[in-house]
């Protein structure tokens, strides 16, 4: 017994010494394998982009040029489709914010018992892929919805009219973006104390509209921007909902262009990538690395 104690102490001291030594030793050692994995990963990321970019420059034989970009932008159908997608994205973002922000605010302030059902609903889009969603939407809204057991039409067939289709696709995009929008808004509200803010605003005589627009929204602007940009990234290149609902958006346009052209689609693919990068980069920047994860495929 008496011999074990000093030995144990020695062991302890040696380990302490080793532990103090180790970090310095580790720093000098280059983490070879980490570099290998990192470089391989970066190659996987970069090669397809490099290839696309290189391909998009080859429109003129034997010389690199931006001819494919010029040709792609010169097509009036491109501007129309891209403008259409941008408009859809803007509408989706605005309506999403109008729907999600008051809901999240209300739950946080007055109705914590609604949190679980609402969170469950915001998770549903993860188990209902876009192709299934559009399947269901088409089956429900391709014929008029009547009051049960009568011939009274509640909602006319949405898929046959122009505005009906826009309502459907915006609603579909809102569903696809819902998990991200709700998550970022809810996180944003957790970091600012909405209750205190509300009480302060109320004591100054603000009504609900003013509280929402002039107090809550500005305070969660970072979260809103994240949600909006993620929605933008989902909507701009989206092809499943757009093509099945017959909407002349950018996704279907790019797909069709790819059927009979080579260089212009590559150019537009690269542009799409830059747009996605810009959106994600801004999220990363404003949220300080706490940004969102991923969208729909």
């Amino acid at each position: 017994m008496s011999e074990e104690l000093p030995y144990g102490w020695l062991q302890f001291a040696r380990n302490r010494f080793k532990r103090q030594q180790k970090p310095r030793g580790e720093k000098r050692k280059t983490p070879v394998w980490s570099w290998v994995w990192y470089i391989l990963g970066v190659l996987y990321f970069v090669l397809p982009l490099l290839a696309t970019f290189e391909f998009s420059l080859r429109m003129k034989r034997g010389v690199y040029s931006l001819a494919a970009y010029k040709a792609a932008f010169a097509d009036p159908a491109f501007l129309q489709a891209f403008g259409y997608s941008l408009t859809l994205a803007a509408i989706t973002i605005i309506v999403s914010i109008i729907l999600v922000v008051p809901t999240a605010y209300w739950i946080r302030l007055k109705l914590p018992q609604a949190r679980r059902p609402v969170e469950l609903i915001t998770l549903l889009p993860f188990v209902i892929p876009a192709i299934i969603l559009v399947f269901g939407l088409i089956r429900i809204y391709s014929s008029p919805i009547r009051l049960p057991f009568s011939s009274v039409v509640l909602i006319d067939a949405l898929t046959t009219s122009r505005y009906g289709t826009i309502i459907l696709i915006v609603a579909g995009y809102m569903v696809l973006g819902l998990p991200y929008m709700y998550r970022s808004v809810d996180t944003g509200m957790r970091t600012v104390d909405v209750r205190t803010l509300t009480e302060a605003a109320q004591s100054l005589g603000a009504n609900w509209f003013n509280i929402m627009v002039r107090v809550i929204l500005p305070n969660i602007r970072t979260a809103l921007l994240s949600g909006a940009l993620l929605t933008f990234a989902i909507v701009v290149g989206e092809v499943v909902l757009a093509s099945y609902l017959g909407v002349p958006a950018f996704g279907p346009y790019l797909f069709l262009l790819g059927q009979h052209r080579a260089f212009e689609p590559a150019a537009l693919t690269f542009i799409t990538f830059l747009l996605t990068w810009a959106a994600m980069g801004i999220i990363q920047l404003v949220s300080g690395g706490q940004g969102q994860v991923s969208g729909a495929h």
């Binding site: 109705l111 993860f126 892929p129 299934i132 399947f135 429900i140 092809v239």
Partner: protein, 297 residues
């Protein structure tokens, strides 16, 4: 006196305002019912209904007996499993390299931003990018031909088949893994490593007996999430293979375009089968995530 009136007013008020409070979340639930629940219910009910509107189990049974449908499911499951495992491994190694792997800090934020972009870069543009990379005249294919006089297409490689689609899916799979695993790896406390080393464990023993058991639920959960992520994908596969690789989403797409199965109910059942598998994978993910959080805080 005061004590007898107070409970009465307390009992009365919550009943009124309790119901009134729910008005605040009414728009959200209305939206969810109209564009998420109702379409899903339509597919669900439809999958148990025959041509004459009667209840039937035949559609569900036919999924397992009709070989083309079963094959589509199996193919989808195979491709999702392969890309989830492959993407999971690459993603884990990358996340490892920037967290505990000892690479310089700035490399981490570069990787995370890139992962955010790549996990959102899917669908038609992604397919085009891979055609420009590994297609017959793609960047890498040509590079290999010129440098090594080795045509990958002569040696069994085909971008428009299983392997090609898997490689393409991996582009949005492993970034997602990086985004999920990096925080989990951050959760490994230095004290655990030091404690293990004090007890005489070497690096291998530390990873196998301490770190891995802690990370395992998180790893498994993430891989399951990646599985669901690939399982629901449609646009990428369609744009790349043009429907030549009959995965389940593409079969469902064909069924939406026109009743190719000559049985609408069977189409609904197919869709519901997908939702079922997605639900299981998401439930598995959240269960495992819950187990992880006990350790990684």
């Amino acid at each position: 006196m005061a004590q007898t009136t107070l409970p009465a007013s307390q009992v009365k008020r919550p009943v009124f305002s309790g119901l009134g409070k729910w008005v605040g979340v009414l728009p959200f639930f209305l939206f969810a019912i109209l564009f998420l629940i109702l379409p899903s219910m339509r597919l669900f009910v439809g999958s148990f209904t025959d041509d004459h509107g009667q209840f039937t189990l035949n559609n569900v049974i036919q999924i397992f007996t009709q070989s083309s449908i079963l094959r589509a499911y199996v193919l989808s499951i195979e491709i999702s499993a392969v890309t989830a495992l492959g993407g999971g491994i690459i993603g884990f190694l990358l996340a490892y390299s920037v967290t505990v792997g000892g690479l310089p800090k700035p490399l981490r934020s570069i990787l995370v931003t890139f992962s955010g972009v790549a996990s959102n870069f899917a669908g038609v543009p992604l397919a085009f990018a891979f055609i420009a990379t590994l297609g017959r005249t793609g960047f890498i294919s040509v590079l290999f031909k010129n440098l090594f006089h080795w045509n990958i297409y002569d040696h069994g490689f085909n971008l428009y088949g299983f392997v090609g689609l898997s490689l393409t899916y991996m582009y949005f799979q492993f970034p997602l893994m990086v985004l999920i695993m990096a925080p989990a790896l951050d959760g490994l406390k230095r004290e655990w490593r030091e404690a293990a080393e004090n007890l005489g464990a070497n690096n291998m023993q530390y990873w196998l007996r301490v770190a891995m058991p802690i990370l395992l639920p998180s790893l498994l959960g993430s891989i399951i999430l990646l599985f669901g992520n690939a399982f629901g994908a449609y646009a990428t596969a369609y744009a790349l293979t043009g429907g030549a690789l009959p995965i389940i989403t593409i079969q469902i797409g064909a069924q939406i375009r026109g009743d190719v199965l000559h049985n609408p109910g069977l189409g609904y059942a197919m869709a519901m089968g997908m939702v079922f598998i997605m639900t299981i994978s998401l439930a598995g993910y959240s269960w495992l995530q819950g187990r992880t959080e006990r350790w990684l805080r």
